[in-house]
Amino acid sequence: MAKMNMLQAINNALDLAMAKDDSVVCFGEDVGHFGGVFRATSKLQEKYGKARCFNTPLTEQGIAGFANGMAAQGMKPVAEIQFADYIFPAFDQIVNETAKFRYRSGDEFNVGGLVLRSPYGGGIAGGHYHSQSPEAYFAHTPGLKVIIPRNPYQAKGLLLASIASPDPVIFFEPKKLYRASTGEVPEEYYEIELGKAEVTQQGKDITVLAWGAQMEIVQKAVDMAAKEGISCEVIDLRSILPWDAETVAQSVMKTGRLVINHEAPLTGGFAGEIAATIQKMCFLHLESPIERVCGLDTPYPLALEKEYVADHLKTYEAIKRAINF
């Protein structure tokens, strides 16, 4: 085991994947010699050459389309979109092409092996063009897998599983945690299964669910609740699509209550999907309405970021509301 931050874990995963399989290539804006603006690809060009790790022109639709073509040819492109806020020029290539390659061709062609990595989320004083959490847009598209890790260990295992996946994966990395989150990470190759949630804390009174950078925030709220004698079960969803309804439902059947927290705005956010599904699966077990603690239905602001975010205090209040319903 080695101590790594999230960027080092991602870099280590890419390094192992490229060493293991010649068909893995990394590219994107500034990812070549410079190693990416956040340095996730640092030293990879040095190690594997310019043909397998390279800079692209500034064209997100070009990057996604190019990755589609490479993957259709049988390679495993791991392309970086510099910020998730800038993934939208590539939206057509991802939603209409990446997602539907296999389906529309009757599996004559597919782009399994394609991974689009992108830093997402707020908390870095980035205003609305450097803070968005766009997972719900992609979760609405059949054919894509959407993954969000919360720590270095997960980032490595989930990224390696994404590269090995026979389906295309959108891999959102919480940039707020890139350097802030450190932990023990095995140096060897390992995968964490996609589509499985992780119960990070056992509890009996209420289930609290989040993913990515919000996991730290809900943990703070859960710790506050514990001081009031409220026992929370905490779940990290990890995979937004496919998502692990079974694990969540089992927990809610035990606790009878659910709080879902995400960074993105409330309306149309993925919490709505979860709430609807769990309400159906657990209707007779629910002791209170499912609570959603999310961003406001506005673009992500700069000056009033603190007020906007789905923070620990708002989560704590939601936990108490659910308990005292």
């Binding site: 410079f34 639709q61 020029p89 602001p301």
Partner: protein, 394 residues
């Protein structure tokens, strides 16, 4: 011509490719490093007042950049982008326009903004995202904008203003306005799909827009030779069927001259036109970037000698329009003026909490109003956690 409806097709009967870099577009230079003119060059018509305003603007943004970069390093603002080495591109072009011509910028065009009359206080209010910021504190530093001075508020996503500029200029034409739109972008942004879409739309629909490419050699860490091959960006304008010119972007007289001619042409013929200004981004891409990771000190040093301001200064002195001693005291005065304005702006309060939900729609929809009410109740419960807004709730 490749248009099948066009009768004047030239045909050949032996196969021969036209090379990708066959179209060599020369670079216009008027002013030498020593402030004299190149042989055969004519200086543009410039009166003393305009010429000095151009100079003052360049000096202003140079000092502002230096001061604000330092402020960023001190943690007083979160982010900054300087235009060191590129002052002549945006100031020279803005000076050649009418004050009511629309400016659609990328993010490194503080020279054009200042030339239009954006005040020091307005710069500071935006940089400190306080309640006097015209953008209400929502965007990162340097995302300026002002309707009064016809400067479209900057959006971060790259190149999105390019097709918008085509549409804006087309609407100006339809409304019979005698104004053009200038659209700035870097050579990196010229790789975006929006660039191609925007140029093609403008060319086909004859929009009087001036596409102004600041080719400064780097898109963050990616050098121009990893961004495009062929003869730069100017030739792409020709590819879309519009006139194009390449100028030395460190030569303000060349930039001014080319933009003046471009504006006249665009308005007279209702056509788009492309200017590619060759310069060098002497500073970092932004305060989050460190160029030492991707280029050498020697390379930077070479360009440091190619300073657009000192060259123009020498020209002004030679003309007898500028006095060296006065110039120095102006710069010193500017430094303290900027520092004073900075101290004032950083003490101005942040925007009120109602601005969390204003301007999402013309009027907040019911869900937003409800969310704000809930948020206020929450803040009243935990005032210490939300110090910016807690003391100011109605």
């Amino acid at each position: 011509m490749t248009n099948p409806n066009n009768a004047t097709i030239t045909t050949v009967h032996t196969a021969e490719f036209t090379a990708g870099d066959a179209l060599k577009i020369p670079t216009l230079r008027i002013l030498r490093d020593d402030g004299s003119l190149y042989d055969g060059a004519t200086e543009p018509e410039l009166d003393k007042t305009t010429a000095l305003k151009m100079y003052d603007t360049m000096v202003f943004v140079r000092v502002l950049d230096e001061r604000m970069l330092a402020a960023q390093r001190q943690g007083r603002i979160s982010f900054y982008m300087q235009c060191l080495g590129e002052e002549a591109t945006t100031v020279g072009s803005a000076a050649a326009l009418d004050d009511k011509d629309m400016i659609m910028a990328q993010y490194r065009e503080q020279g054009a903004l200042r030339y239009r009359g954006f005040s020091l206080e307005q710069f500071m209010n935006q940089l400190f995202s306080n309640e006097k910021d015209l953008g209400k504190g929502r965007q990162m530093p340097v995302h300026y904008g002002s309707k009064d001075i016809h400067y479209m508020t900057i959006s971060s996503p790259l190149g999105t203003q390019i097709p918008q500029a085509s549409g804006y200029a087309y609407a100006q034409k339809l409304r019979g306005l005698k104004n053009t739109t200038i659209c700035y972008f870097g050579e990196g942004a010229a790789s975006e799909g929006d660039f191609h879409a925007g140029l093609n739309m403008a060319a086909v629909h004859k929009a009087p827009v001036i596409f102004f490419c600041r080719n400064n050699g780097y898109a963050i860490s990616t050098p121009a030779n990893e961004q495009f091959v062929g003869d730069g960006i100017a030739s792409r304008g020709v590819g879309y069927g519009m006139k194009a010119i390449r100028v030395d972007g460190t030569d303000i007289l060349a930039v001014y001259q080319a933009t003046k001619m471009a504006r006249d042409y665009a308005l007279e013929h209702n056509e788009p036109i492309l200017i590619e200004a060759m310069a060098y981004r002497l500073g970092a891409h932004s305060s989050s970037d460190d160029p030492s990771g991707y280029r050498s000190k020697e390379e930077e040093e070479k360009w440091r000698h190619n300073d657009p301001i000192s060259r123009y200064r020498l020209w002004l002195i030679a003309k007898g329009w500028l006095n060296e001693a006065e110039d120095k005291s102006t710069i010193d005065a500017l430094r303290s003026e900027i520092l004073e304005a900075l101290k004032v702006a950083e003490k101005v309060a942040k925007p009120g909490i109602e601005h969390l939900i204003s301007d999402v729609y013309k009027e907040p929809i019911p869900a937003l109003q409800q969310q704000l009410d809930e948020l206020k109740a929450h803040i009243r419960k935990y005032p210490d956690a939300y110090p910016i807004t807690a003391g100011r709730l109605d």
